[in-house]
């Protein structure tokens, strides 16, 4: 296994089992990245985990968690303008936030070089959509690599940074979820870059850096020229190559080929090995700009070609346009159903796609039949989670027709059973503004939820808007002091709750008249505050705080020798089986039995006691006083 703390900056060559994200982190260090920035989000947070595992005093780079993706991209841009190779990484939808600045990047001479690493999410494993960000890089004139394995992610990162420095232009590395999280043994090279040289090299002579009026066209012209040069690089890139796993030759008199990239290309390779047919695969690793020469040759050499890509018809559109210009006789095919425009392409799905076109070569496979009566298992707020306590208390203050707007973070799970609180979810930080819109001339009450990390990310503009326009909504700020969902990265003002930036003080300074602050375990008081806030005419804020208990328990286990959790238990004599603990409060520790009784699962309960007051007959009691206080 790999010890990130030491292995990541090892000077000599080594090999180890790593996930794609860790391979990318090593690629950054070998490339000589001096400034790395991010905002945490799946599937890329493990890049940050790797970079921050290296002790600060021996890091050959500066690394920061920025407040959002746009800020992260701008910090990286500034560093590159100053002559340092920089990199920024974030998740798919993070690019939407960063895009306002990303669009300008290719207009600049980025003298230090800059690599933008993006984690797209086909299959929506942990995002609110599965947007295809290949469009974004085309719109921004930014060349793009699409690795399929951890090894390729590492090698392509190094190549991307080399080109970025050479052309003083941004270059993108587009990962997808299961490239980020795939594991394999990767062979790494020695580190050849010297110690960091922090000399400031910013010089307006390298500009102009002002895309205003008369300067825009020359800047755009230069970006387009670079794009043409990048096409030359693509044509000679070793990452664009033809694979012929079986001896190729005409099948029924026709030469058959497939064009693909990323993980779908690997799925195709598996299909070709399994079928044994002599079909060629053109796998594109530097996939934008497309390698026109390689494509021309491949189309000319084959009678039928299928384009296999995930999500939108990006390669297909360009390849078909190219074929039209070339007037080639090759029969180009692609996906035919709406379903094939959605989700990730695994080998069973690519087989099915090939079967649509070449049924005799890829006989249709019957899908695995799954019994319908297997219970789903959805994610849950952890035992002891302060958010659960908050939802339970706030529910008591809501009317039947109260509209609850959710946001992104662990508290999104309030929407799940049994709380079902959170009727609308748009994007990071949207809740206050969407709630404000819902509240206009509405007799129904509107409440909104927002986490503390998301507040800093994109929450403020909507909040300020609600304050100055006096929108009548209640905002519940769900403060747990961390970015819990993605793995406890610090939020601005890191450390304990409210340490560096006192949230309440900021809201007071903004002129908010109604502010209440309460620990969510104090459910009675939170319900009372929620009632007052909802009844208040204007913008009302309730800070519902409790530290993340998952983080707390992990910290205690690491810190306290022989740390043992206490538990609660249910006094079966007292319990009247009203099931409030299960159906309203919903801690996963409460187990239901066929005879109607309820017990506490000792493996799950952490003895936090947030459930104690929820039982109408006080049947929930502390089992012991060990450990948790």
């Amino acid at each position: 296994m790999t010890n990130l703390k030491t292995d990541l900056i090892r000077g000599d060559q080594w090999s180890g089992l790593v996930m794609g994200n860790h391979a990318v982190a090593r690629g950054m260090i070998e490339s000589g990245v001096r400034v790395a920035t991010t905002y945490p989000g799946s599937p890329t947070p493990e890049i940050a985990a790797a970079l921050s595992a290296v002790p600060e005093d021996v890091r050959p780079y500066y690394f920061e968690y920025s407040t959002n993706e746009k800020v992260a991209l701008e910090v990286a841009t500034g560093a590159s303008l100053n002559g340092h190779l920089s990199t920024v990484f974030f998740k798919s939808v993070g690019l939407n936030v960063a895009s306002d600045s990303l669009i300008q990047l290719s207009l600049f001479e980025l003298i230090g070089g800059m690599v933008v690493v993006l984690g797209d999410d086909p299959g929506v494993n942990s995002s609110q959509n599965e947007q295809d960000n290949r469009h974004f890089f085309r719109m921004s004139y930014i060349p793009m690599f699409e690795p399929a394995t951890p090894t390729e992610a590492y090698e392509m990162y190094i190549e991307a940074s080399r080109l970025s420095k050479q052309y003083r232009a941004p270059v993108a590395l587009r990962l997808t979820t299961h490239v980020c999280h795939a594991k394999e043994v990767v062979q790494f090279s020695p580190i050849t870059s010297g110690p960091p040289d922090w000399t400031s090299r910013f010089d307006t002579e390298n500009g102009p850096y002002l895309p205003l009026v008369k300067w825009v066209f020359p800047m755009k012209k230069r970006a387009l020229e670079k794009l043409e040069q990048f096409e030359g690089e693509s044509n000679k890139s070793r990452f664009n190559e033809v694979h012929a796993p079986n001896s190729s030759g005409p099948i029924d008199g026709k030469r058959l080929g497939i064009i693909s990239s990323g993980l779908p290309a690997l799925a195709i390779l598996e299909n070709l090995h399994a079928s044994g047919h002599g079909i060629d695969l053109l796998k594109l690793g530097m996939s934008y700009p497309m390698p026109q020469q390689a494509l021309k040759a491949f189309l000319a050499d084959h009678d039928e070609v299928i384009i296999v890509e995930e999500l939108d018809r990006v390669m297909e559109t360009e390849i078909k346009a190219l074929a039209w210009d070339l007037n080639v006789s090759c029969n180009i095919r692609s996906r035919s159903t709406r379903d094939q425009l959605m989700g990730e392409f695994t080998p069973d799905r690519t087989w099915s796609l090939l079967s649509d076109h070449w049924p005799s070569l890829f006989p249709a496979q019957s899908p695995v039949e799954i019994p319908a009566d297997i219970s789903p298992r959805i994610a849950q707020m952890c035992p002891g989670c302060g958010h659960r306590s908050a939802f339970h208390a706030i529910r008591a203050a809501m009317d039947d027709d109260t509209i609850a707007v959710g946001d992104i973070g662990c508290h999104s799970m309030g929407f799940f059973l049994p709380h079902n609180i959170g009727d609308v979810l748009l994007s990071m930080g949207h809740s206050t503004a969407t709630g404000a819109g819902l509240s206009i001339n509405n007799t129904r009450k509107v409440i909104a939820f927002l986490g503390d990390s998301t507040l800093f990310h994109a929450g403020w503009p909507g909040i300020v808007n609600a304050i100055i326009n006096n929108h009548s909504i209640t905002l519940f700020l769900m403060e747990n002091g961390t970015t819990a969902m993605t793995g406890h990265q610090p939020r601005p003002g890191a450390g304990e709750i409210g340490d560096k930036i006192p949230l309440k003080g900021v809201f007071e300074a903004l002129g908010v008249q109604f502010i209440r602050e309460v620990d969510t375990y104090n459910q009675g008081l939170l319900t009372q505050y929620a009632r007052e806030a909802i009844a208040y005419d204007g913008f009302a804020l309730v800070i519902a705080r409790h530290p993340c208990m998952l983080k707390f328990v992990r910290t205690q286990r690491a810190k306290v020798p022989d740390f043992e959790l206490s538990h609660v238990e249910i006094d079966q004599e007292t319990c009247d089986q009203s099931r409030v603990c299960i159906e309203k409060f919903g801690c996963p520790s409460f187990y239901t039995h066929e005879d109607g009784s309820v017990t506490v699962h000792p493996d799950l309960c952490i003895g936090d006691g947030s459930c104690l007051k929820t039982c109408p007959v006080q049947a929930i009691q502390r089992e012991s006083k060990r450990g948790y206080k």
Binding site: P43, K183, H273, V368, P376, R377, A379, P418
Partner: protein, 195 residues
């Protein structure tokens, strides 16, 4: 050895990562090419979590396609059933730790929790074999994964990846502080299987 797929599944928080890491390390030590993939993100909060191990040549994608797992390793009964139903190949093997983590739908009585017999019949429908692991005296539920590991080692679930190789991988993976406790559980399962 012909290429093989192992599919591990459980509930977020059960320690599937360690189980997967040790198995992977053991397979690498035995000289196999290994690739794989773990669940990250939201599902780790008490949702279904999985880990794929693909061992041998000519396997390229990190995840095993449905119905193609040679071995399904379940850390929990319902997840073992889901794993077997979706991933097990005809004639494959299922090894599971018989603990119960009720999902919210079961707690709310909107779905049934499967009996051990129901799991047996799902596996039997695939012509597979089922092995149950359970230790009466296991104090720390976070070591159920090591009990499973012991069983997989005894069975040599992967050719040439037996008790010695797996034990060494366990020693190389687990932090020294908790190694003794883990080894104790591992040896208990190994010894019980000898009798």
């Amino acid at each position: 050895m012909r290429p093989m797929n192992i599919f591990l599944c459980g509930v977020g928080g059960q320690g599937i990562g360690l189980l997967s890491d040790v198995l992977t390390r053991a397979c690498l030590a035995a000289g196999y090419r290994v690739r794989g993939c773990d669940t990250h993100g939201l599902a780790q909060r008490h949702g279904t979590v999985v880990s794929h191990l693909r061992i041998g040549n000519n396997l390229f994608t990190p995840r095993t396609p449905p119905g193609q797992a040679d071995v399904v390793v379940g850390l929990e009964r319902l997840e073992a059933m889901r794993g077997a139903a979706t991933m097990l190949r005809t004639g494959g093997t299922v090894v599971y730790y018989d603990t119960v983590y009720q999902p919210i739908h079961v707690r709310l009585r909107q779905a049934d929790y499967p009996s051990a017999t129901a799991l047996e019949s799902v596996v039997a429908d695939r012509g597979g074999t089922l092995t149950r692991v359970y230790l009466d005296n296991l104090k720390d539920p976070r070591m159920q994964n090591v009990a499973l590991l012991g069983r997989l080692a005894v069975m040599s679930a992967v050719e040439d990846v037996g008790v010695d190789v797996v034990r060494q991988a366990l020693c190389d993976t687990v932090p020294p502080k908790v190694l003794d406790a883990n080894l104790k559980v591992f040896e208990q399962v190994v010894n019980a299987s000898d009798e």
